[in-house]
């Protein structure tokens, strides 16, 4: 019996779906990965689903596979849209979850607690229109095309770098004067001290 399972279902492709309580996700995943007769050692995909029916909760879907047993399983966590959208990150179990979780964060606004580097990935860091794959997000985006162009043209060169990246150039004294001026105003936060990362 898989720990933390709320209920089970069968998908139309015959795969086994288990619904897990949000608090026990990491425990369940670790059990699935490390129990010898389960051995789900491979994370195929992480994604999320929001239904057109607003009453239904959002689902975060994990596709797991055991390479040795050649079996798949689908683990789902349900999140109420009115509630805080957050689950534990499975990065500590599978490093492949790194970009996959970042994409879900970017597209759905779901936070993965414990992820080492949770930034937007497909959209840029300063993107302000929301989370594109949410049903409340209009197909053409929130801003007009003119506004999007205006923002793109007004972006400073340093907007293309994260503050952590800028700290590398700052330590070498390679940043141009005007860039340094703008950064000193602190609109994007402060540049971390070089070497502060582990």
């Amino acid at each position: 019996m898989i720990p933390g399972v709320l209920r089970e279902a069968k998908a139309r492709d015959g795969e086994h779906i288990v619904y897990v309580a949000r608090e026990r996700l990491l425990e369940t995943m670790r059990w699935l990965k490390e129990t010898p007769d389960q051995a789900f050692d491979y994370l195929v995909d992480v994604t999320a689903v929001e239904y057109r029916d607003r009453e239904r909760p959002l689902e975060v879907v994990y596709f797991l596979r055991s390479l040795s047993r050649k079996v798949d399983i689908r683990v789902k966590v349900e999140l109420d849209a009115a509630d805080e959208l957050a689950v534990d990150s499975v990065w500590s179990l599978w490093h492949g979850a790194d970009w996959l979780e970042r994409e879900v964060f970017d597209m759905f606004g779901i936070t993965f607690t414990g992820h080492p580097d949770l930034r937007r990935i497909l959209m840029w860091e300063t993107y302000a229109e929301g989370n594109p794959l949410r049903k409340s997000f209009p197909l053409r985006g929130r801003f007009s095309r003119a506004e999007q162009v205006r923002q793109a043209l007004n972006a400073n060169p340093e907007a293309h770098y994260s503050l952590e990246e800028l700290s590398i150039a700052d330590a070498g004294g390679d940043l141009p004067e005007d860039m340094r001026e703008r950064l000193k105003r602190g609109e994007r936060g402060t540049i971390p001290e070089p070497g502060s990362r582990e």
């Binding site: 139309r12 492949g96 330590a171």
Partner: protein, 422 residues
């Protein structure tokens, strides 16, 4: 069979200061420490060696990569969002544009997922034709990879040879679908067209002559000291790391994991074809090259078997609710016209539920995950992008290598930005 007997010979002839003939080793001497002053280098997004609009921000100590931070998303088109507003058959043209180096197998991957969701069994002729489409895609995708990677590493000739062969497959694609790149080959429940009469002969001629080019590429690269020196031991990942990073396709197999969806989760009757799963042992750039090169031979073998067994019969399922009637019938038969109208206006409705189908694309496992709420448009269409996930291991692979090796490692991932960014 191991082709790795080259390590000891990795040297190039030269002369020393006294003019005596000597052999200069191709390995780089250790860089002096520059006292902790690091350099930030930006590569891309417009750079020929990043294979598309990939941008890499690299922290360098001298010439050694300390950290590599990839930035993706410059080609983001929101295909998954667009899919939620389209009928299942209308999504197929979007799949062409994700991995545009192997459009036909993307079409097949999506159609298989939609058919799984709707519970449709395709006809035997359609199954074999889809295998042909998938393997043709694998060959052209690997040819592009070989060509561009060899250019990245300074070899121009294999690029021309590889692209000539790719051109021949493109001609075949054009013959079959009318398009060279945006093929939109499949429909839910079948194909957009049967192959023309001359197709089988042309493809058979291709399968007979293509291995000669592979042999030539093999001769010019595999035992080439420069090629081996640039690729052996570069960007190596162990089997455990490759699994942990969710790598798939040639990247996973080069690290020594014999996992191939065609064997381990067979679709389209792949279990009935005779071919080998190619596995590397070191997981470096060189082994990825060997795996892809050998996979071309195997694909060629599958193509020949598929041509031998190609059955006659219809290509589409016999279900007027799923397949459009022929134009003649739609214009002359009342019932056919109604089915035509309903399919075009309302689309094909899928039952409530979800389905995931992963297929072995040239770049790795391409997954299509469809969730339906009973309407003709999916609630969610998720593409599991193989090169996106393979690329996520780039920072790990590049760490500690030289900047020039970063180009080789990035090339070895075989990314296509249309799919990474979707």
């Amino acid at each position: 069979m191991s082709k790795r007997t080259l390590e000891l010979e990795l040297a190039t002839p030269g002369v020393d200061a006294q003019g005596h003939a000597t052999r200069v080793p191709l390995t780089a001497p250790v860089e002096p420490d520059l006292g902790g002053e690091h350099l930030l280098v930006n590569i891309g997004p417009q750079h020929p060696a990043t294979h598309g609009v990939l941008r890499l921000v690299v922290e360098l100590d001298g010439e050694t990569v300390l950290r590599c931070i990839p930035h993706v998303g410059y080609l983001h088109s929101g295909f998954e969002k667009l899919g939620e507003y389209r009928h299942y058959n209308q999504i197929i043209p979007l799949t062409d544009r994700t991995d545009y180096l192997s459009p036909m197998s993307n079409n097949v991957g999506f159609a298989l997922a939609a058919e799984k969701l709707m519970g449709i069994e395709i006809t035997p002729r359609c199954t074999v034709l889809r295998v042909i489409a998938c393997e043709m895609s694998r060959i052209i995708s690997h040819m592009v990879w070989l060509g561009t990677t060899s250019i990245d590493l300074g070899a121009f000739t294999p690029f021309l040879w590889a692209f000539q062969q790719r051109e021949r497959i493109y001609d075949l694609q054009e013959m079959w679908t009318g398009a060279r790149l945006t093929t939109s080959l499949t429909r839910v429940g079948g194909l957009m067209a049967d192959i023309p009469d001359a197709f089988v002969g042309k493809l058979r001629e291709f399968t007979q002559t293509f291995p000669k080019t592979l042999d030539e590429i093999d001769r010019v690269l595999t035992r080439n000291a420069v090629w081996a020196g640039r690729t052996q031991g570069v960007g190596a990942l162990t089997a455990a790391e490759a699994i942990n990073y969710s790598l798939s396709g040639p990247m996973l197999r080069a690290s020594g994991v014999p996992y191939d969806l065609r064997k381990d989760k067979p679709y389209l009757g792949y279990e009935t074809y005779d071919f080998d799963v190619i596995v590397g042992e070191h997981g470096d750039v060189y082994d990825r090259y060997l795996v892809r090169l050998e996979e071309c031979y195997q694909s060629n073998k599958i193509l020949q078997q598929a041509l031998d067994r190609l059955p006659d019969g219809p290509i589409n399922v016999d279900d007027p609710k799923v397949i459009l009637p022929s134009k003649t019938r739609a214009m002359s038969d009342m019932e056919a016209m109604i089915f035509h109208f309903k399919q075009v206006m309302e689309g094909v409705k899928a039952p409530v539920g979800e389905a995931y189908v992963g297929i072995e694309n040239p770049k790795g496992e391409l997954g299509n995950y469809l969730v339906s709420d009973g309407t003709a448009k999916p609630v969610r269409w998720r593409i599991r992008p193989p090169s996106f996930i393979n690329l996520s291991a780039l920072p790990k692979m590049a760490e500690g290598h030289l900047l020039s090796d970063l180009i080789a490692i990035n090339a070895s991932v075989d990314i296509v930005m249309g799919e990474v960014d979707r």
